[in-house]
Amino acid sequence: MANRVPRETNIMTDFDIIVVGGGHAGIEAASAAARMGCRVALITMNLNKIGLMSCNPAIGGLAKGQLVKEIDALGGEMGKIIDESGIHFKMLNKSKGPAVWSPRAQADRQLYAVVAKNRLENISNLALIRGSVNGIIVNSKKVSGVTLEDSGPIYSKSVILTTGTFLNGLIHIGLKSIKSGRAGDKTATGITESLVDQGFKAGRLKTGTPPRLDKNTIDFAVLEEQLPDNPPTPFSFSTESIENKPIPCYIGHTNNKTHEILQEGFQQSPMFTGRIKSIGPRYCPSIEDKINRFSDRERHQLFLEPEGYENREIYLNGFSTSLPEDIQVRAIKTIPGLAKAEIVRLGYAVEYDFFPPYQLFYSLETKKIIGLFFAGQINGTSGYEEAAAQGLISGINAAAKINKLKGFRLKRSEAYIGVLIDDLINKSTLEPYRMFTSRAEFRLFLRQDNADIRLFEHAKKYGLLLKEDIRRVNEKKQAVNSLNKHVKVNNISARKFNEIYDEISSKIEQPQRLDAIIKRPEVNLAELLKVTQNDDYPLDAIKEVEYNIKYEGYLKRNLELINKFKENENRIISKHINYKAINALSLEARDKLNQIQPESLGQASRISGVSPADISVLMIYLEREKYNSNVPRET
């Protein structure tokens, strides 16, 4: 990639695809589409804020880490950027089974943005343009470009909107409110209005961020130090090792005194006084919400996370707030270790526009306007990883459309990304959507360490991988196959086994086949291979084989569910249906089905408000239609 030269940018150039926004969704959308050969323009208000982490300076976390690995397996950027800019890596849930392990890393915030921009600049058919988009150009229900605030229109075949919190963004600190999409930045007006004119339904959500503290005013000695993993596990399957020097995080706690001061500010809280009416994420509540709802808790845990090597800012994770400045300042000083702490940036809440995602196809293209795609917070999600995943899918699909390829869709049984988009489209969530492992009914199969194998065929088909990626995954797959055979035909002798597992596992009398003996929880395949002198298998292949054998019984039960799920997914509804005319359906089902126009019977069954009886009726209707005619799909 290094030998590619950035393309000269010319405002009047026609592009295949315009990506509006340079956040985590925009980065993936632009780079995926460009990798697939399209001429792409990424337009953002400030070229130096590409990939800026507006909130928490961290990537990954429970369930989110899986998303990043999947993005990486599909050739995305996020894993590679964090591997280059991370300063504190940790594998979460390590004490539990591999299905719920999740990587997480703190980033050097500035470095992350620099790496992100550099990577985009090195993609040859991608232009980075500074500008503020204030309208979408639509001709007869088809998108044809965007208009810029300070210059003329730019034309393209597709437009991907990744606007984050910028659409009519309004920041609240106490009872003060400022029109802004992110502290220190402008807001984006005009886009929502032009889409509402086109018939889109818009809504409003809220999110918040904690204050940043000056590193030099904190007494770290009284705080609990939290060390990263050593050695760190990279996010990207292509990263050999992490080069950055690790630095620790710190844990602190609020106390009753803190709570008292915060309570003083309740009457000036934009949340409690009703100034903010939009809904925020319940899993990321403000500190005032926590002490209000859980008043019996005497303290709340806080994480002090450095924002970088050079950066003096410390992110006070767990202290998201929109209370007035003086309350924030006083409350923080009651926390042990923070008596002299200075706030560099205040915590705040921000309200922004979103478009309820039932208005999208699985490709993330809007149903109303051909060629217009939405990704990220504009769809009501929260989190960099959720945004990046959608950015990637929208980018791939926008490019697939131009390249005349079939749309790209991941199933719930294949990837967290599949769960994410399926949930968005079919469940009308009222709060910012965040991924959890519990949302993935097939999570036992959706491990972070097998994302490369899981998604390989898709990635290859759409040309998302570099040659060396393809070679690497092929090697891993071959190693897994060969090891799978190996454990089925090779034994370990009783003597060798009893020697290594003396006292840990019950003794064996006869030689045992490897695939039988590793079913014992305490037995480790890597170790057995070592003593039987077969240690040339790579560790990731060993883990893959071991997991599938060790947990075979449980996996089988989950697999039965997957098969049942697939049965209904394969019952395709291939044409537009006027559900209002099917009287045997319940009223609610008629409305919801008409709105969403599901692509399969399986999808129909997941729409909230559609009952099993409705599905039977629908099945009969579809069979009759199939029998009656061969009418092509109207959409």
């Binding site: 849930n93 089974g97 319940r282 509540p285 845990q301 492992t437 009969i620």
Partner: protein, 459 residues
Amino acid sequence: MIKKTNTIVALATAIGAGSIAVVRVSGKDSISIVNKVFIGKNLEKADGNTIHFGRLKDKEKEIDQALVSVFKSPNSYTGENAVEISCHSNHFIVEDIVSVLLDNGARIADPGEFTLRAYLNHKIDLSQAEAISNVISSKSRLATRNSIMQLEGSLSKKVKSIKKDLIDLISFMELDLDFSEEDLEVIPKEEVLEKIEASKINIEQLLNSFNKAKYLSGALEIAIIGKPNAGKSELLNSLLGEERAIVTNLPGTTRDTIEENLTLKNMLLKISDTAGIRFSKNHVEKKGIQRTWNRVERADIVLWIIDISKSINEQDAEIYNTLKNYYNKDILVVGNKTDLCFKNETRAKVNSFNLPTINISAKTGNGLEELKEMIAKTINLKYEHLGEEIIITNTRQIESLKSTFRSLSEAKISLNDGAGNEFVVVDLRNALNELGLITGETATEDILNNIFSGFCIGK
């Protein structure tokens, strides 16, 4: 749970209608499944359109003699391989036959599924199929009606409470997976085991109650009404065969309504004893009487008890008028206390109300059997056309409960094997989904909502 095969089974005739019942089996494996439980000719070698006499067995136990008709695809009603079993029309026999077929790999047919299959296999035309849509939708309305009644009933209450326990438990376990970074307490394994065991016991109790009362799903209600001291509680007790309501000869003892499940002629009914009706100024009693009329409103059948050792007075006439003018119910007039009448010379002329009437003594049990017959007959007349629907709903509930029970057992085994929460939760969620089939709800959002509302989450 997973559909075992695609072979379906259901009772094809109405309950209580005629002396022969027909159980229909359809699907690729129908002949081999029936053959497994059939003593007689090897049905797998039988030709299509042939009838065979033999016996049906559940393991070693013989269930009934039966005539078995074998149909081969495409020459059957559904167009698939099919078997029709004609047996004696006894609820227990039919239930045993259906369940032994389920145990051998068939599954309960969905409403209208035989007809649906007939349509899909081009055995019937489109206008008929159009009609099925409507049948299904009206059946689902009926099911809704049933479930609304059950929502207030003890079955649904119990299932909901088991569901809630499971959601709470899963929430605790998911909390440990999805929010392990938070400052939260982890639920100890012993407690999880205890909770699973408690739910298993609850389900077992439900299953047992179903085994006792095989058919009607407890959706039908009977209200016993009458003047104070007419013997309402006494009648309830003798029907139930146990001392349940407080019986005294002090009028107005039952101030509230008392509700019980009653097994009557193989039907599970809900029966309620109500406060006696009289025009009273006593506030508590007035409230009780209002509840009595609310009961009447909900009931399918009203048992109006009259003390026939006494003469009919204005209050009886008042009750009659109210029932007649305000409530459109099946009413049985029960003349009670024959034991106090000499040679059946009753004072009250209960026949004069022009309603079905029977005289009994709740105290001695005299006439009680006849009363039961009469109730059963009334129900059968009223609900005959629902026969198939009700048995299916019911059997499906049993199947769901059995699957729930199995999944809970698997969860327990997983836990004892030292499996992590992510594995145990697979079984628990299966259990929850099965229960959801009974109450008609799904659960993923429930779990997250539960977590968000119950725990202080979020860094």
